[in-house]
Symmetry: C2
Subunit: 380 residues, 2 copies
């Protein structure tokens, strides 16, 4: 009797949680990132972005001003809510990660302990339910001295559900093309821990012009975030980081920011730069993309998804994600309307189905097969 | 006897010239943009970008420092050189435009006359050779008072070879979402003069990090330019400019910057923004792209070209360009090695051939057919 082919698993590799230790760090702060309660809101507000500063200032001085940031709903902090989200969105496995800005802002002396707490919390979340439905990307104490960071990597290697680390674009403060970061990148490569690169800082507010506040968060989130990721990876490429650490693997948030679309322009600009073209170069941008880079599939369009697949050399380098709990259904800000349909999830599922064919082998790979294989999403 | 189908014409809609009046304006300046002679260089140097300022400072104080900017070769100023380029690259028709930063920096009192001179020079270039091989995009005196700008549009309507205008992203100074720009956009729409939107200002140098100077011009040109264009168009969209001027047609440089790849993310961010989603919206980003926007095909990759075609709804909205005389063959900086193969042109031709099929009807449309039709590239 022929066996029916099992339905491929759906894996969400881009899904954030805030454990209690992190929430208490944010709640104790006076500058962004911070969590603040306002009398007019049932949930505390989570204020993360430079672009949200004007709204925060306004709300602190005027109780009738619109609330800054976003509500810190139980979607951010409760594992039961994550499980509910997974059930309603038909997600089998989630690879959890701390949301931006991770521990970038924590003082050097406290960062090591904070990382241990946060990573310990994530490991606990992964074992809280039977059946291996959770794995996680750890967080490094990048503001701490090098030995502390390396010790943190050692610690992550021993946590059974850790499958990589999530990192922003600033590295130790000077960006990912900073030579001081190389020992850390090498330790991660040796430990087989890929970096999930995620934006946070965006672009300076000035680039959005005088009417920016009328457009909500659209410009910094839709354009600043992807450009930040693209600049960070381009700097790594130009500094030769990928050649220096060939075993390093990167997973780029938001399908690489804009890298799939701009790779040709980057490559051409390097070829035509009098200064760079005369330097002996390693691999092309395309080769690095296809050899050391994976992309999540959080791009919200068939056009973008197909470009991401083509740029990275095939559907085996893309992995589905939701960006939960960000981009909840509008109207459900308080957490009560977020139980059902998540339009943000639907857009990304539909992009995979349309670009690769609903039910196709390639779609199955992007929706989960690749993540299971690349991130070894089983008990070891 | 059957007629052989004529070979479709190749039209270059993204090709720049500096007429003598403009070169003398730039040569008289002390701040960027400017043209400056250095003892160690046969050609004067053209220094346009904020990112080139550190190199300019260095070269002014140290005669052994690398030269700033790029050489002002005859490719920028001589029509005979443009014709030679067209002959070697097999281009039948060129739609000439002034290069950035146009007249953005000219004082309000002088801008009107400067525009007349520049536009007059372009019209003369177009009639200098028999056979309609040249048309042009005019330049507006955007720093001048509104009546001067409107008079300049009237003047352009009377120049027989003008087919639109080239414009940067600052508009009257506050960007393209500035309501004060609407009368100008309406006048252009009424005159059937599309706007060729071209970047110049890029992003603040700070976003490229402390090692930026090691990477030549790559980061500002490859990433800053496309992001500038994307932000400008997104701001127009969010401000409702396309709905306010439905007859406006835009041609976006560099295949829309990053718009084809990020349109999905923009659309999703709008849908999920508590503030914007509750406002009654006009058309989606996709609809505006397909109804009011054309893209040039200067994207240097098959992946980018295909995304541009798909995002804009079909091959009939893309038009080939070269960005000549920028990105000359490396080694030919002095102008003597630039006679033969232009890699930058090859990359863009190859992108069209690979994405749409060499010799296909769609490739022919992008290589010239669309431009002839959309821009009416014949004597009227």
């Amino acid at each position: 009797m022929a066996h029916q082919k099992p339905k491929p698993q759906v894996v969400d590799i881009h899904t954030h949680m805030y454990p209690p230790a992190y929430i208490s760090i944010l709640s104790s702060r006076d500058t962004i990132p911070l969590i603040r309660r306002f009398p007019s809101s049932p949930d505390p507000r989570l204020i993360l972005l430079e672009a949200e500063l004007p709204a925060l200032e306004a709300a602190l001085h005027d109780p009738t001003a619109p609330l800054p940031g976003r509500p810190l709903t139980k979607h951010f902090s409760h594992l039961s809510q994550k499980l509910h989200f997974m059930a309603t969105q038909k997600i089998d496995i989630s690879v959890l990660s701390l949301a931006n800005p991770w521990l970038d802002f924590v003082s050097p002396l406290e960062a090591g302990q904070a990382a241990d707490q946060v990573n310990g919390s994530f490991e606990l979340m992964c074992t809280a339910r039977k059946g291996s439905r959770f794995f996680f990307f750890g967080t490094l104490p990048l503001s701490a001295p090098l030995p502390t960071i390396l010790a943190s990597i050692d610690n992550l290697k021993r946590l059974p559900h850790c499958r990589g680390i999530i990192m922003g674009t600033t590295g130790l403060g000077a960006g990912l093309d900073d030579p001081s970061l190389l020992p850390i990148l090498k330790a991660l490569a040796t430990a087989h821990l890929p970096i999930f690169l995620h934006p946070h800082y965006g672009l300076p507010n000035s680039v959005y012009g005088p009417r920016a506040s009328e457009y909500g968060h659209v410009l910094p989130l839709a354009l600043g975030f992807p450009m930040e990721t693209t600049i960070a990876v381009a700097r790594m490429y130009l500094a030769g980081v990928f050649d220096a650490v060939p075993a390093l693997r990167m997973i780029l948030a938001h399908s690489g920011g804009t890298l799939p679309f701009l790779a040709g322009r980057i490559e051409s600009c390097v070829l035509h730069d009098g200064k760079l073209a005369t330097v002996k170069r390693g691999r092309t941008v395309w080769e690095v993309l296809r050899e050391q880079v994976y992309l999540d599939a959080v791009v919200y369009s068939e056009v973008g998804l197909r470009a991401a697949v083509e740029a990275s050399g095939g559907a085996e380098r893309l992995m589905f994600g939701t960006d939960h709990p960000f981009f909840p259904p509008v109207g459900g800000e308080a957490g009560d309307g977020e139980e059902g349909k998540w339009e943000s999830v639907r857009l990304n599922v539909e992009a995979v189905d349309k670009a690769l064919g609903e039910g196709s082998e390639e779609a199955g790979m992007v929706m989960g097969g690749n993540a299971v294989k690349v991130l070894r999403l089983y008990e070891e």
